[in-house]
Subunit: 218 residues, 2 copies
DNA sequence: TGCAACTGTGCAGAGACTGCAAGATTTTTG
DNA sequence: CAAAAATCTTGCAGTCTCTGCACAGTTGCA
């Protein structure tokens, strides 16, 4: 979202700017070191040193070592609320899936804009499946909030109805599969295109083989 | 699956039987303690003490503290391979989703058979979303292997085609949503029924609101 | 300028998890 | 059946993640 990239640096004030810089330095350091040595051969201390801050500061920015790799932008909590709001405000005539598509388009564009960074990130995620769950579905994106928002949009109960949780999970799966393919292709096609392909497959009821493939096939 | 519950205890030998007992003692201890105090207020040492083994032994059985709550049965690795085999051996005329349904039916039955235990487990998972991902989708079920198996069954490439990873993720989401509802209902309906409802919704292309709800509605 | 609000850092400490080697048990073998 | 092989349990030492706390340095603002 805009708050980091689109806002002119000067509008932020020195303090906020420094914070962004430190966050960035840490994620970049994490990305590089982990990319080279693997997650288990890099300590939080290594990353801190590489970024030029104390280990204690590292944990002021990230709750876990993994987060340094996964969280590309700060303010992830507010981000979840913004997303929820955007989902509710999407044109009422849109079905839930279309509304979600609208909601995520903005965020997904950032991936294409920083291709190298995200390719590095997903390369790491690919080698550590434990991270994959966390990045799309996990609490990073505010699972609970998102399910409730979906429920409200379609007028259902987040707990007593199957649909809201099902849709939320399915959307996460679609994004995960799309992004995995995006990375496998080296980021040649825009992410949004692949996500749309996933959503189309979903809307069509997951038709069997060749019809879904976005190219000819093997 | 059969290997633990269905095999007469005497056919296992003393050593194997003791191992099963210890595993069971640990998971039950973990389930109870964590259920009472919450995951963060229970240490691996607590669980070990409760189960009557040394802390070191705890980590001989589980790689992480969380696994003690999540892994209901041992041999999880072989289990993944068995599932893969079952998926390939399912009647060829079945579509992928039906084949998966057949594959998981057997495992899912165990949930209904041990309702209380699984309700306790899911109650914990519900409070710790980080666990949710791991239990269905994560490496616990051999993500990579499963995607490749799906790919083989439909004659596609696990990496270059969208479908296999998409189907795998979507199935995981369907199971997760179904089980969440199952737990919310206190296990009144058989899990298989709810999973079937999820799969039906998927096959129908995630039709919007009221049609999916498995009851009337709110 | 001077105070209030942050941010960075060191320190101490709890807890997760691992490798190693000794001791106890079970299974296998001859 | 007894000795050897295979396994399992455990204690120990040690690394690493992550947290609370207190203090020092900066930045924002009146």
């Amino acid at each position: 979202m805009p708050s980091t990239d689109h806002v002119p640096a000067q509008a932020l004030g020195l303090r906020a700017r420094k914070k962004l810089e430190t966050h960035r330095a840490l994620t970049m350091a994490a990305l590089r070191l982990v990319g080279e040595r693997g997650l288990e051969n890099v300590t939080a201390e290594d990353i801190s040193a590489e970024a030029g801050v104390s280990p204690r500061t590292f944990f002021n920015y990230f709750a876990t070592k993994e987060d340094a790799v996964l969280i590309a932008y700060p303010e992830s909590e507010q981000r979840a609320e913004q997303s929820a709001r955007r989902l509710l405000e999407a044109p009422p005539e849109l079905g839930p899936m279309e509304a979600v598509l609208v909601m995520i388009t903005e965020d997904v564009a950032l991936i294409d804009e920083n291709r190298e960074e995200w390719l590095a990130r997903f390369a790491i995620v690919d080698e550590h499946p434990a991270l994959a769950a966390r990045i799309v579905t996990g609490q990073l994106s505010g699972e609970r909030l998102m399910i409730e928002t979906i429920a409200r949009r379609v007028g259902m109960d987040a707990d007593a109805d199957l649909y809201p949780a099902l849709l939320h999970g399915v959307i996460g799966a679609a994004m995960k599969a799309a992004i995995k393919l995006w990375a496998h292709e080296g980021g040649r096609r825009p992410v949004a295109e692949l996500i749309r392909a996933s959503f189309d497959a979903l809307a069509a009821g997951l038709p069997v083989p060749a019809a879904t493939t976005t190219r000819g096939n093997s």
